[in-house]
């Protein structure tokens, strides 16, 4: 039971939280402000804190002049395909490890350790590999590359989840003549749906945001949003309003998803380690 009423320490704690919230969100706020500043206020000394008007043209410029639309589309293609394909492969694998201990501890450790592999460690051979196949700057290469990180992640999280689902329901289904596969598909998977939703969200966010492999494996054909940002920043460092608009468009879907699936996000991020 908590104490009733609000004491001094509650006020101090509340104040500390508000300060923390401000520090963590101020940079985001500054980006949003810049995204709606008219061009004359992008580079000002002193900086303009409150724009004189809401200049929405930054967004249309970002979308149609600087490749924002292409960036959004490419990010969407790569992130959704790699998430869906990772689920198709990873969910059965997680079930096999969780339910049947397929391959034992060594196999599950090998799969998991790929998650921690520094991307730079495989960058060179992967670059040579995709070049040899003529797939540099292709959707295929990027999608498969992201699956390599998505699959171990969702396998790790879902394995634990499948271990927690009581075996009885699947067993009784099988006594009633269901195959093992149907026990998995019609009983275990529906029970694990919240966890599957949570890991899909996180896999999508990872693929939407990924920068390193996009930098190495793509050129001009596939240009995901994180990839075009640094290019624009180097090429035209005076276009702050337009770049901020692109950055906002890149951040928006992730933040919306995070809020829509708030409960799952907190659980999904944490129950990789805690359940």
């Amino acid at each position: 039971m908590r104490r009733q009423g609000i004491g001094l320490s509650d006020l101090v704690c509340g104040f500390a939280l508000v300060v923390a919230l401000f520090v963590f969100l101020a940079p985001v706020l500054w980006m949003l402000i810049t995204a709606v500043k008219p061009p004359g206020e992008w580079l000002n000394e002193p900086p303009v804190f409150i724009p004189s008007e809401l200049h929405w043209a930054n967004f249309t410029d970002a979308l149609f002049k600087w490749g924002g639309l292409k960036g959004l589309t490419d990010s969407l293609i790569v992130a959704s395909l790699s998430t869906v394909l990772s689920l198709l492969l990873g969910v059965p694998a997680a079930y096999a490890i969780g339910r049947y201990q397929t391959g034992g501890d060594n196999l599950s450790f090998t799969v998991l350790s790929i998650l921690f592999m520094p991307p730079v460690a495989v960058a060179i051979p992967m670059y040579l590999f995709w070049s040899a196949l003529g797939l540099i700057d292709s959707y295929t290469a990027l999608i498969l590359q992201y699956m390599v990180f998505n699959i171990p992640f969702l396998t790790w999280v879902l394995k634990g989840f499948f271990e927690d689902i009581p075996r009885d329901m699947e067993d009784s289904a099988m006594v009633n003549g269901a195959t093992r596969w149907r026990a998995f598909w019609e009983i275990a998977v529906p029970l694990a749906r919240p966890a599957i939703l949570a890991v899909s969200l996180l896999a999508f966010i990872f693929s939407w945001n990924e920068f390193f492999f996009a930098l190495i494996l793509t050129r001009a054909n596939v240009t995901t949003l994180p990839f075009i940002l640094p290019v624009l920043m180097e090429g035209h460092d005076v276009l702050w309003g337009d770049i901020a608009a692109i950055a906002t468009l890149g951040a928006l879907p992730v933040v919306i998803l995070a809020f829509a699936l708030q409960k799952y996000l907190v659980r999904g991020l944490s129950f990789g380690t805690l359940r």
């Binding site: 500054w30 096999a96 991307p119 495989v122 093992r180 951040a251 944490s270 380690t273």
Partner: protein
């Protein structure tokens, strides 16, 4: 009596084993093609004098690439930079994350909304986050220097200043990842049995005593997991360095990952870069092994096989 009962059970186990491998097969195929084989290839390249820019025949050079690592002062300085980031995780991110987690834990409402709001720096792309800080750190037009100017505290060039570039990046990493640390520790706090804390409170323990004597010891496994996880991620750190400083000024902010990238993709010293990559992989695997032992022992992550 026993053998007829054993027989179908063994058959059942064989069936499970076979299905298990079928379910694993596609995953194993993709992972093998896209990570295990490339890794093996990187190992062979690391023993060769493979350089794209110098047209000499590739030959085996034994451990020469590995030997070169330890006499390369750029390697040692990049290791130093990586260690500074690790220190930032342990000495800044952890205490701050813990403090925030305790504050959130005290709240009666809005916990999920606040955690999600705090997590925005963590979940947006590093390219987006990097752009935000490029703006904020800007010498002439950035709000940070403007505010410092109001207080007559001078106008640093931040990411262009050899003395400030690394602290600035460590600060950005702190901003980006402390919320993640908070989330892990907060989830840990939430999983503690409330009765223990209530008992201590009844005893008349102060807040500090409760934190030191109850929360921290009970959270120890989770703290270990959170720290190792973040240290593992710090070894991969690349994006914000690329966006904010590109390793400069000079090589002041080149960490191991960035140094390896420069060797491989700017100078095309593929043999040397591969040796660097393998070295990092060994360190990271040891850390990952420790992490998994810890999750197992604490009974939090992977449960011991019950079969």
């Amino acid at each position: 009596m026993l053998s007829p009962a054993l027989h179908p059970r063994r058959r059942a186990r064989d069936g499970a084993r076979r299905l298990g491998w079928w379910m694993m097969a596609p995953t194993l195929a993709v992972l093998a093609a896209n990570s295990i084989f490339p890794l093996l290839y990187a190992v062979t390249v690391s023993f060769k004098n493979y350089q794209i820019l110098i047209p000499v025949p590739h030959r085996w050079v034994g451990f020469a690439n590995y030997g070169k690592i330890f006499s390369d002062h750029l390697f040692w300085s990049s290791l130093g930079v990586t260690m500074w980031f690790v220190a930032g995780v342990v000495f800044l991110q952890f205490p701050l994350g813990m403090g925030l987690a305790l504050l959130l834990h005290r709240l009666r409402r809005f916990q999920d909304v606040l955690v999600t709001l705090l997590l925005i720096p963590t979940i947006v792309s590093s390219a987006v986050a990097g752009f935000q800080w490029v703006q904020l750190f800007n010498y002439a037009f950035g709000p940070i220097n403007y505010l410092l100017g109001l207080l007559h505290l001078g106008r640093p060039t931040w990411t262009a200043d050899p003395a400030l570039a690394l602290p600035a990046l460590i600060f950005v990493d702190l901003w980006q990842w402390t919320p993640f640390m908070t989330l892990l520790l907060f989830a840990g706090l939430r999983s503690l049995p409330g009765s223990v804390v209530e008992a201590a409170r009844m005893d008349g323990s102060t807040v500090w005593q409760i934190v030191w004597r109850i929360y921290l010891p009970l959270l120890r496994p989770i703290i270990g997991i959170a720290l190792i996880l973040r240290v593992l991620m710090t070894f991969k750190l690349f994006d914000i360095i690329y966006v904010l400083t590109a390793g400069g000024p000079g090589t002041v902010t080149e960490n191991l990952a960035f140094f390896t990238y420069v060797q491989g993709f700017r100078y095309f010293n593929l043999g040397y870069a591969s040796a660097l990559a393998i070295l990092q992989l060994i360190v990271v695997s040891i850390l990952a092994k420790a992490l998994i032992q810890l999750t197992k022992r604490s009974g939090i992550g992977g449960r011991e096989a019950a079969a």
